[in-house]
Symmetry: C2
Subunit: 310 residues, 2 copies
Amino acid sequence: MNGSRSAGIEHLALIGVGLIGGSLARALRRAGAVSRITGFSINLPELEKAVELGVIDAHAKNAAETATGADMVVVAVPLGAMGSVFAEISPALANEAVVTDVGSVKRCVIQDARATLGRHWPRFVPAHPVAGTERSGVEASLAQLFDRHRVVLTPLADTDLRAVQRVAAMWESAGAIVERMSVDDHDRILAASSHLPHVLAYVLVQTLATHARRDDIFRLAAGGFADFTRIASSDPRMWHDIVLANRDAILTISERFGENVASLLSALRSGDSDRITAVFDGAKKVRDEFEAHRRKRGLGSSAPPPGARP
Amino acid sequence: MNGSRSAGIEHLALIGVGLIGGSLARALRRAGAVSRITGFSINLPELEKAVELGVIDAHAKNAAETATGADMVVVAVPLGAMGSVFAEISPALANEAVVTDVGSVKRCVIQDARATLGRHWPRFVPAHPVAGTERSGVEASLAQLFDRHRVVLTPLADTDLRAVQRVAAMWESAGAIVERMSVDDHDRILAASSHLPHVLAYVLVQTLATHARRDDIFRLAAGGFADFTRIASSDPRMWHDIVLANRDAILTISERFGENVASLLSALRSGDSDRITAVFDGAKKVRDEFEAHRRKRGLGSSAPPPGARP
């Protein structure tokens, strides 16, 4: 995993020093894969905290300054801010600088990068580390956040192969398993595995928060509810950008999900015991297999403390 | 919590020795609140395992036999089996025996008990320990499962007050916080806090399991997905019974949830940034408050290992 290729980064410029940017910096330091890290964030207290915690060596006064002279530039900002960051850093980039991102939707980031990076475009490598927690900010960052987690690269036909290799090596040094995928595949798959669940968690909490018996509901909610809704504590700004950027894929999978919900509720209404059993049995089987695979990959049982039932 | 009233159970008869029954037995032993525990389960290997693990002292050959001479009878079987268990034990019950259950829906259990328990009906106390995990079976049982968790009692107008007090004392000895509530309130509130989330988790897993890119989806699913779908690993038989028993309340809250999902998807379709932000911001705020309350109650952060993001 690590070590087979050295990331060998001289100067990493980190634009955005939150959970993901901060964790990447920590993981690369842990691996001895980077000599120097500078950073910038529009959130000044976060930026100062990042220096204080030793996550970055120095902070710059803007994105262009931090990117100047860097051989690797990682843009770890919400999707809606990617375009303006790319536009700002483009004139400051060194000739051989590799630029990459960590966005959860790839199509929109690629459009922004193509429109703004000019001659640096071929050395832009779209990337998505599929890992995180519901917490945000540099204080929540962890060196082990990416260990054994997937990072998806979605290079285009005209992406420089050496740039792809450098970004892959960086993420492997950070403990991740790197794979490649087409942009459309990535965005459709993540709509199903991540974006739809987040929408459902947010809307469920909204629904219960506006219920007449809201206080009773939350008092009697146990560990199962806590787990189910944990992702509704995720950063709303980040998720606003994600759902808007990937709306077509999200609408498509939501429609299929909605049909399946309607079908189950119709079975419930008519007392169709067999149909309910088939759905629950089938889902449990698949979910148990998923958990077994996670354990095999060393991702932990992620088992909650007691308290998840009815 | 404990100790203020002693449960003082001479002979506890446990019908159903799974996660909930087994955990109650362990918790009462921990508290020294019970002298002898006998048990019965139609699942013979589970029953033998319960003796082997010391969860029960002896097993009987049927429900009536185990209930014979017991001063406290706890029926911890799936909802669909409650009626037949009550009918079977009724002739064997001692004059002063208290009978209680652990079912996640109260209306149906009460109907069954009223129809079958005869002269013992006033000493039947409907109860629901709101705690558990997605695991099932006596091997998953834990003495601390109910610590600081709620147990809801829904006694009726003609329920014997001393019987209610004995069941309350038992659950307090087991570490729980006991509260009373009307049957309708209980069933409506649990439909929202527990039953709907389980339906959604099962149907989401079903939807992804039948997706053309199923393998990619599960490979790229991270901790957030694992948390969101954990409850889809719950016992399908138990949940089949719960959703059918509480279908009206589940249909009502599902309808409200469906309207809110439709509204968010419509905002997404039209790019209504403000509406999306309002929902996500509001939900995060409420979810964070819920988590803070859980921690204050000592229920643990229930924070997952790294890996819950996009």
